[in-house]
């Protein structure tokens, strides 16, 4: 489903200087699988999520991102979104004045139009929103409020998962979705993510800690250090990291 080959990427700082962050990533996530990317701070985890979703200022200098057989390395963010990429942001942004439901309806319809499908009717959209909100314990009031404005950290993360449920993407990237969540909130979020597991959907879970993975049970765990994947293994790798830390991988990469 997702095949990343020898991916190199750089970001530009405010002075226009380029800095290489990803230094040759090879990664394949087949449909139906959940892969975790773990790594120390500064390894390039968030950069990878932005490079995959096409954020401006994150430039692919070498290599390829192939999604369902198609090279999307140069595609605009909204084009990738319509093809099925969804990023649950580490820091979801506030959109003042735009209510959650308005935003999602516009987004969903934009994706449907881009794929040449019919737009969703207002009643069907509302029905879908109510069902998904109930799964995550999201109140009606929250759906009417501007996106993320005045939301707590936990509410923001729940709203990210709610958006994923609404947009039903083919490929989910969760960037530090567990950060800022207490145990109860994490369970709710993890249940939401688990509900999204499907044979035709891939997931990449980016995290610093193992605790979210306890709930999600990834098929493969990759360790990212200094812009490269230095080790891949089963779920036991996450537990090993939790016990021993990243020291030996940071050392090796440097």
């Amino acid at each position: 489903m997702l095949k990343i080959t020898n991916l190199h990427a750089q970001i530009e700082n405010e002075d226009g200087e380029a800095k290489a962050i990803l230094k040759g990533i090879d990664l394949e996530v087949p449909a139906g699988e959940v892969h975790a990317i773990m790594g120390p701070n500064g390894a390039g985890k968030s950069t990878l999520s932005y490079v995959l979703t096409g954020r401006e200022g994150y430039e692919v200098t070498k290599g390829q991102i192939v999604f369902n057989g198609e090279d999307v390395s140069e595609a605009e963010p909204e084009v990738r979104a319509a093809k099925g990429f969804f990023l649950s942001f580490q820091y979801p942004v506030e959109i003042p004045g735009v209510p959650v439901l308005t935003f999602l309806k516009e987004s969903l319809n934009a994706q449907l139009r881009a794929r040449g499908e019919d737009e969703i009717s207002a009643p069907n959209f509302m029905k879908l929103a109510r069902e998904n909100a109930a799964k995550l314990g999201i109140s009606n009031d929250m759906l009417k409020r501007p996106v993320n404005v005045g939301f707590s950290g936990g509410e923001k993360k729940r709203l990210e998962i709610f958006q994923a449920l609404m947009l039903s993407p083919k490929f989910l990237i969760l960037d530090e979705t567990d950060s800022g969540l207490d145990i109860d909130a994490m369970k709710v979020v993890a249940e939401g993510v688990n509900a999204l597991r499907a044979p035709d959907r891939g997931m990449l879970v980016i995290t610093h800690y193992q605790r979210l993975l306890d709930h999600l049970t990834p098929d493969v765990v990759h360790i990212l250090a200094d812009g490269r994947i230095v080790k891949s293994g089963g779920p036991e790798l996450a537990r090993e990291l939790e016990a021993d830390g990243y020291d030996k991988y940071v050392g090796r990469a440097a």
């Binding site: 605009e76 990023l87 942004v93 959109i95 935003f103 516009e106 987004s107 934009a110 958006q163």
Partner: protein
């Protein structure tokens, strides 16, 4: 003020239009048309922006209701442009609402190419209510100068909604001179787009005690357009309330101006006046100039003003695009939600819906 060296072609034409004995003619001769060295016109140089306007134009007023033709009332004028309209305005048009009566009036004021002046007068009797909807359409080559005189009797209520969207090479000045009697209520909202130069200048005087004025506006300025919204609110009576909320956005090569002055006279104790302007520059080649002023001579008042300027946030745009919206769609949605507030406050439901629809159309038509 120094005498002008040479009159512009428009000034020459206006000097010919004005009667010899008219003091306005002398003012024009001495000072010329308003320009940037005149404090009130600092950001909107009417003199420089007005090219030659050779012919006489016409301002027609379309309405389902009949307006009375009245002689132009030579009362005091709040500005030079108002005085010019009083001197050169053809017939005056008036509409009166009797005490305790309720009326709705919709007007379309269109100006053809050429020089034209018009004076309209609205009088609301005690406890009267009027919903007034004005649409301004100045066509290519127009220099339209309009004075609107409004008097609200005691406890009268006026809901006034103004739509301005003129040709890119038209000049439009609308000066509103509004007097509020005790307990009168004004609720004014403008939706502006600009022109070569469009200036909506609103003077409100709280004559008596306990009057209320909401003066709101939303504006979206397209390329090569200039919109100036200037408000001057004078509190003379005590317990008066003024609320101003303006929100605007300008695209590349568009220019917006907001000037708001609130003057509280000595006798206007317990005045509660607040003025807020927020704007968004949609491109780095857009310009918005702001001048808020409070001048207070009473010692027991609550007055405040605020101003904020910003850009569309790149983080927000990326977030929205990641969910599937194109950059243009994301920008439109953000700009629309930013500008909604003043329009959502329109008390009349039909007009509120209409203006919100207008905003949508304007946003989608220009992106």
């Amino acid at each position: 003020m120094t005498k002008l060296m040479t009159a512009t072609p428009l000034e020459m034409a206006l000097l010919k239009d004005l009667p010899r004995q008219d003091p306005v003619r002398q003012r024009l001769l001495d000072h010329g048309m308003p320009h940037r060295r005149v404090e009130e016109w600092k950001y909107s140089d009417l003199r420089r922006l007005s090219g030659p306007v050779e012919s006489q134009g016409k301002i027609s007023v379309k309405s389902a209701r009949t307006l009375m033709s009245v002689p132009v009332a030579q009362k005091h004028s709040p500005s030079f442009m108002a005085a010019l309209a009083l001197s050169l305005g053809d017939e005056g048009l008036a509409f009166a609402v009797a005490a305790e009566a309720q009326e709705t009036l919709s007007l379309e004021l269109s100006a053809t190419a050429g020089r034209a002046h018009k004076v309209l007068r609205f009088e609301l009797g005690k406890g009267a209510k009027l919903t007034l909807h004005e649409i301004y359409r100045a066509h290519a080559g127009a220099f339209a100068n309009i004075l609107i005189q409004i008097v609200l009797g005691e406890g009268a209520e006026l809901i006034r909604v103004i739509e301005q969207d003129d040709a890119p090479d038209a000049l439009l000045v609308v000066t509103s001179d509004i007097e509020l009697s005790p307990k009168a209520r004004l609720h004014q909202t403008t939706l502006g787009a600009g022109a070569k130069l469009a200036r909506l200048e609103t003077h409100v005087t709280h004559q008596g005690e306990g009057a209320e004025a909401d003066i709101n506006g939303a504006y979206l300025i397209a390329a090569e357009r200039h919109l100036d919204q200037t408000t001057f609110v004078r509190h003379c009576g005590p317990h008066g309330v003024t609320r101003e909320i303006f929100k605007g956005a300008a695209r590349a090569h568009g220019k917006g101006v907001f000037q708001g002055k609130i003057l509280v006279e000595q006798g206007a104790q317990k005045t509660d006046a607040q003025m807020q302007h927020r704007a968004m520059l949609l491109d780095e080649r857009a310009e918005i100039d702001v001048k808020p002023e409070l001048e207070i001579y009473a010692d027991d008042v609550a007055c405040a003003h605020g101003n904020a300027m910003g850009h569309l946030d790149e983080d927000v745009l990326f977030y929205m695009r990641q969910r599937g919206l194109s950059e243009a769609e994301a920008r439109t949605l953000l700009t629309e939600s930013f500008l909604l507030d003043p329009l959502e406050r329109i008390p009349d439901e039909a007009l509120r819906t209409r203006l919100l629809g207008q905003l949508q159309t304007r946003l989608r038509g220009q992106s």
